[in-house]
Symmetry: C2
Subunit: 386 residues, 2 copies
Amino acid sequence: MSVTAAIGFSAAGVAAGIKPDALDVAVIVADAPSPTAGVFTLNQAAAAPVVLDRESLGRSALKRGIVINSGCANAATGDQGIANGVAMAGTLADQIGCERGDVLVSSTGTIGPQLPMDLVLPGIRSAASRRSPTEESATLAARAILTTDSVVKQSVVRSNGWVVGGMSKGSGMVRPNMATMLAFLTTDALVEPTVLNDILRAAVEVSFNSLNIDGCESTNDSVIAMASGASHIVPDHDEFAAAMEEVCRDLALQMAADAEGTSRVVTINLTGGADDADSRALGRTVADSALVRSSFYGGDVNWGRILGALGTSAIDIDPGRITVEYEGVVVFERGMGAGFDEAALLETIETGDFSITIDMGSGDGRARVVTTDLTPEYVAFNGERS
Amino acid sequence: MSVTAAIGFSAAGVAAGIKPDALDVAVIVADAPSPTAGVFTLNQAAAAPVVLDRESLGRSALKRGIVINSGCANAATGDQGIANGVAMAGTLADQIGCERGDVLVSSTGTIGPQLPMDLVLPGIRSAASRRSPTEESATLAARAILTTDSVVKQSVVRSNGWVVGGMSKGSGMVRPNMATMLAFLTTDALVEPTVLNDILRAAVEVSFNSLNIDGCESTNDSVIAMASGASHIVPDHDEFAAAMEEVCRDLALQMAADAEGTSRVVTINLTGGADDADSRALGRTVADSALVRSSFYGGDVNWGRILGALGTSAIDIDPGRITVEYEGVVVFERGMGAGFDEAALLETIETGDFSITIDMGSGDGRARVVTTDLTPEYVAFNGERS
């Protein structure tokens, strides 16, 4: 039930007509102004809704709602795009009785075209009037934010008297101009805006930001969390952080598993970096490599490419101290290939998901990065004209 | 005739048996100690020959010869790999009557295995004894350095009394563990080692370093130039630099055209960057993007992905000042998609090579980056087990 699992929220998803035959407008509404935090793309060509939400959260961290559309990214749309984003927020605000500045906006879909506002605004009014705290409404909202995703992505973690729920969309940039990952979390725990913000940032770092499907941060990527406080319970800090992290990780794994045109999810455990940040950066360098990911597709044990990828990092490495394991089998150590039963290992990783552990031998840092293989189908998808 | 076009050089290519049925050992020998310069991979997991050549050139810039093998990269081979590289240089030195330190070494092929020295050393002796200044010998050498290349790559530029010639190998990292690009240039112009070094570095920057096939610098990449001075002519500095650049560019284009599993070469002209270095970095960011290169494969006009890629750069950009043209047709300007005859443009770029111009609107910098499309065939190649 995702975003309505926590008390104090209602949601809806409707078909406004932006997309031919699918739900395309969603709203999430809090009963009262609620602490809200957002983490947004670092892409310098950020879409209009990202620009607007950053400004809005800079003014105030208390929000009433979020309005989301799929089918059009409202990116690279100039001043008209900004005006359209403002009108979306204003329309939901009018319906729920708050200021325009109390509503955030998210969009996902094709980059370039302007939003068909004659369809979008009536859609928002319809969604606002249909919103409810039911599981059905939350699922319709989760469906309305999808683009090329094949399944709805929702997750809930319940604790002592409070709940964290969330929904997301994204499955790799599998169609031209369909770039974005969006995630929305709600909780009824009673938390300060700054605490919510810090915990969300940390959770995003180890989940969505550790998920690599196409090595690219899109124009629209956004993760937004709202805390209604309706449980009246102040959660234990670490317990709350763990719950937020679990929901984010779960949603990220659902996205990896749904990456169209990929055949497996590969988890890269990077240990022994100077610190966690270095470990994460090194893990991403491996996860970003088209050559490494092609070898995952073929089920090849190709530690040479892993080493080659690590060697391109800006972080100092010492190949002589690196150990590489596939599914627990050491394949490279002390600067050279290790002796191992190649036939047995190839059989182990022939199909399905697997994991690699890379130990840098330099410190106590560690990170886990999830990626997918790069397949001919992926490229064929991405080569199709929009 | 490439490396023997200049006076004062001999060459040979032989089949030593490292590869099943192909030439795999080449030598280039100067009649006398000659100013020599090298540009090597920045990959931190550099192969043994790269480590050895860097040290050797650090001691002295005067060299007598280069010994090259294909079929084995001598990379990730530890101390044994270093010893093998030293033995290769020593064997050629013995044959041509010089010190081991007067000979450079290059290898290309599979990462990991040790060189079969019982085959390599007799091969080097055979190559040394067969070397000659003929066109045939140069072409055999050019053939002996190939791995997955489908054609020999050679280039010659003649000027007033002096010549620059070169050969190269590399066609994208199209087979597992077959990573490297190698290029060897010779000239009979009379130039100082420091001048040769500066001019080689500049030429590599605008040619091989602007060529993007897999966005990855391998463990073995090397470009080496030798100047015999046998023409006794001190060339005009700019004229010599232009000739070196032309040979490097020509070899780089031959490599791009030979990239297996790709269907077209796309030239990205990046203008209006703050300076040339920024322009080159921005052009490479676009050329590195798997999503942009997938759209090239499909013949799609996908300026959204180009903008998204530029947005991920560490260099500040202003989307509102960027203009993007495909084959001279403006498709994006002033922050928005431009009106253009899409059907006509799609027909223009349906097949074959094309060019894109991206103007950043920020300065006078400019750069040209050559890349290829990313195809399902490329991924299928790279997914094959080694």
